[in-house]
């Protein structure tokens, strides 16, 4: 051993506090996600946007094991009817309406009210978007809309930036969970600021759901390792070459990341730490163990 191998600080500095609960049993049932008092057996939340057809979407939803899935609210058309809602009902998956496409508090609140009436849920994934190119949240109006919807009795899950300050403000405004982005919607760029996500999860008193930007399974696992309580994926699955297989991969990744997060990773170090003992090692002519010591 040398004295120069002090562990480096984890890059994700404020790691989530170790869980004090009993170690997880295999399977989600022993380690459920609880949002606003509702227990969910899967930590993977699915979106339905981007699927080529309802049959492909159905296969992906089943493969994902999700129990909570987002939908958008749009003007009724006779062609589509109410088929997405009917599909979720048939699969026993709770619908989570979003306010996608809303650029103002006013539009978001009315959309949420319509969703509550149509889908008979007071849960809403609140999106207030600033512009079409980035689809980034408008933090000021998002906070305002969160306050208003909480006042109106909604269970509000705001889609937010990876800003730890805003995440706290949303929680203080009564959000039931906060949903920071990894990167902009649909980009598949993964988690661009893992440090911020770790800061958010370390300080949050409500579940943190990594939402947007996930491109593949390792990034979903990373989100969980950073202390997120759940991950939401849409495009990463629905636009994958094989959505059903990717949905299964995401399910496994979220479980794996969660387990790893609870298991407690080893600290990062500058130098190697042998996993085999040097005790009793053989010597050949000319070998000196002394030379190995720095």
């Amino acid at each position: 051993m040398t004295t120069t191998d002090t562990p480096t600080p984890a890059t994700a500095a404020p790691a989530a506090a170790p869980s004090t609960t009993a170690p997880a049993q295999p399977g989600a049932a022993a380690d459920p996600l609880v949002i606003a008092g509702r227990t969910l057996g899967s930590r993977l939340i699915m979106g339905t946007g981007g699927a080529t057809d309802l049959a492909a979407l159905e296969r992906a939803l089943i493969a994902s094991g999700t129990e909570l899935t987002t939908v958008a609210m749009r003007r009724f058309s006779a062609d589509a009817g109410t088929s997405v809602f009917a599909l979720l009902q048939r699969l026993g998956i709770m619908a989570l309406p979003n306010t996608a496409g809303c650029y103002s508090t006013r539009d978001a609140v009315l959309t949420a009210e319509l969703a509550r009436e149509a889908l008979e849920t007071d849960w809403v994934k609140l999106e207030v978007i600033a512009d079409e190119d980035t689809l980034l949240p408008d933090g000021v109006q998002l906070l305002e809309a969160t306050e208003e919807l909480v006042r109106r009795g909604f269970t509000v899950l705001p889609y937010t930036t990876d800003d730890p300050v805003l995440a706290r403000q949303l929680e203080e405004a009564g959000a039931a969970a906060v949903m920071p982005l990894g990167s902009p919607i649909g980009t598949g760029l993964g988690i661009l600021n893992p440090h911020n996500i770790a800061l958010i999860t370390a300080r949050a008193g409500v579940p943190v759901v990594l939402d947007a930007g996930i491109g593949t399974a390792s990034e979903a696992a990373q989100a969980m390792e950073l202390g997120c309580s759940a991950v939401l994926v849409a495009s990463a699955v629905t636009r994958a070459q094989d959505p059903e297989a990717m949905a299964r991969a995401m399910d496994l990744a979220v479980r794996g990341g969660r387990e790893a997060s609870r298991a407690g990773r080893i600290p990062r170090r500058q130098l190697a730490l042998a996993s085999s003992s040097f005790e009793g090692i053989i010597e050949t002519a000319g070998t000196s163990r002394e030379a190995e010591s720095l």
Partner: protein, 79 residues
């Protein structure tokens, strides 16, 4: 007939038409007094008149007024 706007499109509906009549017409199924399908199933649709949601329990009692602006929505793929 009275003029109204439904999902941004000008339309004419019979005088005395209620929100329930409108919903039943558009979805092509009868709607119960409680604003649900006749088997009690949730329809998965909602209506706002002039930016205010009309609860389904009031559909049967809410007539469409002349020049009413009606938004009639449902869940679609998204998010």
């Amino acid at each position: 007939m009275i003029p109204v706007t439904i999902n941004g499109e000008p339309a004419e509906v019979p005088a005395g038409w209620t929100v329930r009549d409108l919903v039943a017409d558009r979805i092509g199924h009868p709607v119960g007094e409680d604003g649900r399908a006749l088997d009690g199933r949730a329809l998965g649709v909602a209506v706002a008149l002039d930016d205010t949601v009309v609860p389904r329990s009031r559909w049967a009692a809410t007539a469409l007024a002349a020049d009413a602006r009606c938004e009639f929505v449902t869940a679609v793929q998204g998010g």
